[in-house]
């Protein structure tokens, strides 16, 4: 890897971790120029160096940019008060044969909030999301959505014989967006998820599982939805794309969208506004 390539990769990796790259990259470039040494010898791999820098500046783990922790009881309130209720599910109950999967579940998500839905396998996380998305009917309970809805399923959701561009056009048609705009929006969202050359991509059936999930995630965000329902959308993502995914979630939060993420990764729970634990 040349110094330029290494610095380019460092820029990407710093972005991913919410660190403004300019000063860090300039300083590293300066050091490399003066020492004349190979970047990997001096700094190690770009991702590892970016992680060390992020930890020095932000503390351990990924801290979202502009993150303001929601106020706990008795604390000073956060800068952004919670917005209007965007998604409200009341008393959701669902039975399959003789098994009750969901029993009177309530979920309220406001604009600018991220809520994680957690619980063991088979506890009804995906079912709850499908009910909120209007794809499955509950046996009891009501769902109210105020605004437009974007939904990212855990798998499926793509059409094998269509290219990503054709998917963008298809979703755009449903959103009332013209073809060129839909393609442009899709490609921009793909670039954010570190998916270059999406316009030359083969049909969805030829993509890896992780890349198909990126496509799903991009489609859920097209047309500027107010509510995003994301069902473990990062399956098959590598570490970098996984970080990109959470950056995207936090950007949506900053844009005052209501976001629901089904997850089993407990390490992310201290960085969401609310947690709904199912199956207890």
């Amino acid at each position: 890897m040349t110094a330029e390539e290494w610095l380019g990769r460092l820029t990407t990796e710093l972005h991913r971790r919410g660190v403004a790259p300019d000063a860090v990259v300039a300083e590293a470039a300066h050091h490399l120029r003066e020492s004349g040494q190979a970047p990997e010898r001096v700094f190690g791999p770009p991702a590892a160096y970016a992680a060390a820098v992020a930890e020095s500046l932000l503390g351990p783990g990924v801290e979202p940019p502009g993150w303001v922790r929601p106020a706990a009881a008795g604390e000073e309130p956060g800068v952004e008060p919670p917005g209007a209720v965007r998604l409200e599910a009341r008393g959701i109950t669902k039975r399959y044969a003789h098994r009750t999967v969901l029993d009177g579940v309530d979920l309220t998500v406001r604009a600018g909030e991220v809520v994680a839905v957690v619980g063991a396998n088979g506890c009804g996380k995906s079912t709850l999301l499908r009910i909120c998305a209007g794809l499955t009917s509950p046996d009891a309970g009501e769902v109210h959505v105020r605004g437009r809805l974007g939904y990212c399923p855990q798998e499926g959701g793509t059409v094998e014989r269509l290219t990503p561009d054709e998917h963008f056009v298809l979703i755009g048609a449903g959103r009332g967006t013209d073809r060129a705009t839909a393609r442009r929006q899709g490609r921009t969202a793909a670039a954010v998820l570190d998916w270059p050359g999406v316009d030359r991509s083969p049909v969805a059936g030829k993509l890896s599982g992780g890349t198909r999930q990126k496509l799903n995630l991009i489609m859920s965000g097209l047309g500027d939805p107010d509510v995003l329902l994301l069902d473990e959308p990062y399956q098959g993502f590598d570490k970098g794309s996984y970080l990109d995914f959470w950056q995207q979630v936090w950007r949506w939060r900053t844009e005052r969208k209501a976001v629901v993420v089904v997850t089993h990764l407990l390490s992310e729970l201290n960085r969401v506004d609310n947690v709904l634990e199912l199956g207890r």
Binding site: A23, A26, A28, H30, G44, E55, S56, L57
Partner: protein, 111 residues
């Protein structure tokens, strides 16, 4: 000597050594690395040095500003803050005490 042990020692004192390297006046990253190496600490990788500098800057023990070099691009210069100088002075005394204690144990162990 055991390289791992030496690396562990360095982890514990590198931030103090960086403060010490700046006690003689402001400096920039590569020059600090050279000062540390010339002082006998061995080569300090940039991947270790810069995160340490960022951490020290963040907690206010050093200050930094960007200035243009002669004809070259701007460099980030670091200098000790007042708190940094105080920290260095007290840590220096503590280290001397600590090293003295360790020394007594190591001397006893040698027949």
């Amino acid at each position: 000597m055991d390289r791992d042990r030496r690396a562990q020692w360095l982890r514990g004192v590198l931030d103090l050594c960086v403060l010490g390297a700046l006690s003689g006046g402001e400096s920039y990253g590569y020059q600090i690395a050279q000062r540390l190496e010339a002082g006998g600490l061995g080569p300090i990788a940039g991947g270790t040095l810069y995160p340490t500098l960022l951490r020290l800057e963040k907690i206010g023990l050093i200050r930094a500003d960007w200035r243009g070099g002669e004809g070259g691009p701007a460099r980030k210069y670091y200098r000790l803050s007042d708190t940094g100088a105080e920290t260095l002075a007290s840590a220096s005394a503590e280290w001397a005490g600590f090293a003295g204690v360790v020394k007594t144990f190591l001397e006893v162990a040698t027949p």
